[in-house]
Amino acid sequence: MAEAFLDPLPWLIVLPLAWASLAFLWGDGRGGRLAIAALAVQLALALILAAQVMAEGARVHAVGGWGAPLGIDLLADGLSVLMLLLTQAVALPLAVYARAYFSEVAQTHFWPLTGFLLAALNALFLSADLFNLYVTLELLSLAAVGLVALGGKPAQAAAALRYLLVSLTASGAYLMGVALIYGAYGTVSLAGLAPLIGPDPPLITRLAAGLMLAGLLAKTALFPFHFWLPPAHGGAAAPVSALLSALVVKASFYMVLRLALGPFAPLAELAALLLGVLGATAILWGSWRALTTHHIKMLVAWSTVAQLGYLFLIFPLLQPGGEALQAGVMQAVAHGLAKAAMFAAAGVLMLSTGRDTLEGLAGVAGRVPVTLFAFGLAGVTLMGLPPSGGFLAKWLLIEAALAQGQWPWVAVIIAGGLLAAAYVFKVLRQAFLLAPAAAHFHPVPRVMEWTAFLLAAASVLIGLRATEGVELLGVEVAP
């Protein structure tokens, strides 16, 4: 009995839900310390769970003791544990950062919203049920929209509203797909569906899969559904942008991957090429827009649009046990850490200069060197230079493409890397210019600089610990 009580798996969901509602209850921004302590515990829980999964294989937790299809199953396999680790690893430094970033008043709503956001992420990564995935997705989207609107400025409200509308429409499409699947098969459990969907499924299944895919792509902001992302991510407060870009868009990507590997595997091939082409377009278009914008955070946000493209390049290359899957997960993890670092750094730069344009950066290098270094390190990951996680991801992707003779993807990957280098160096060059005489810099808490640096360093160093990750990723449910 005590053993069940100490199981890290359910606590990864219960704990953030608990501290989120307690933070709401206490109010007045007093949730920060609680959140950081709880996040430290969550990181430890995720590590314990990873160790357990590595040692004993994938774990299933039947909520309510009923088991699928009557009840809901939670599943912790290698893929979900890796995403859980990423979530806690990004959230903890960002929580420390946010406590310094926000005023006391702004924290009143930040902590509860963040708590629910993280609970939704953890629940989503652990879910093995189509309808339960919908609920977690809904929780995630609402928390994200609330966080975008947090500042209350008209531009933020407008971005949040647009995000909300896209999000609700996308959820609706996904839900309609779930309803059709339930109508066709009588169950919504992933494990239960997998054997039921054959190689040539009926029209209803194809329609359902199409609707679900469209909804998830809109949530992931894959080109051409990316239009909502730059204003939402670029306009929100820096810690919020970091959470959204690093984690939230990954959640819907994770679902696409989970469904394509799981019950909808027979249909995945049909959409693979389309997803690859959209991904490639996203890389080129997002990088180009990042290169031509004049606002720091819009640059980082457009870079997210581009980097999300890489995630979808894996679909035309996906083969059982192949390198494409490893590349995709590595890209998700490396980009998550790097983008969190980059938004955190951008927040420091903007606080320090008091401006949000690239021109305003002149001379900032001398004031916040650690931050600039963090920005550069994160840039190394985005460009895909060794030994970073980004390098490894792109390397694996190129290898897979070459192995299958699909060389056009290679050209896109290399072009994307060059464009990323261009926009990162554009920022760095501007920062090292001499400050104009009229420039005035504000002091920034040191802890914000160092958390950004920590995240950036992790995104680079993760490349050195890739073997464990690959081994963990290999853990699947015993058939």
């Binding site: 003791g65 709503h109 169950t187």
Partner: protein, 231 residues
Amino acid sequence: MNGPARLAVGGLAVALAGALAAAILDLPSAAVDLRGAVAMNLSASGVEHPVTAVLLNFRGYDTLLEIAVLLLALLGMLAVAKPESGGSPPAAADPMLRTLAGVAVPLMILAAGYLLWAGAHRPGGAFQAGAVLAAAAVLLHLAGRLPAWASPKRMLRLGLAGGFLVFLAVSAILLSEGALLRYPLEHAGALILLIEAGLTLSLGLILAGLFLVLAWHPASPSESAGEESKS
């Protein structure tokens, strides 16, 4: 929307409707019979009404997260509502409305209690009871007998989050039975009633809060001017 966009959206809708119709006409017979599974396990669920059994026992975890969604919706709206908009007292109402509230609100409380009780063996339950309670709160608000909600105080926040916290605590404590939300057979009925009672109150407050925060608009002149304010 301009013409071509309208046409495109319309075309998309028609195509989707057509595909849906075609898909549903081609509906295969479901491989899994969940209805049967629910009926078979109903006696072990602690309640007699299958819908309540699914909502609070078999798929109670979904419901837990859905309550969080509702709480979150309110939270998001509170985050957007401007803090300075909070203090204004609600409008004073005419005696007619106050009398209506005096008669209708106790009846609504009775109805909510009844729906809560009924949920165990027939349609009803926390959602419907909460909605009725919320209506009572809205009526009280229209009658000028509720304080403004733009920045809820501690007790109110406890009411808003209480139902969710009770549900979460019960779920977590039941880990001692081996899994999240695994009710022991002999206490299932009582625990579900406890959760539902908490949810009724919280859902009522949350739904009313959604109304009150959304309905709040700055300086409603017709309400505050010209009518005496309540002391």
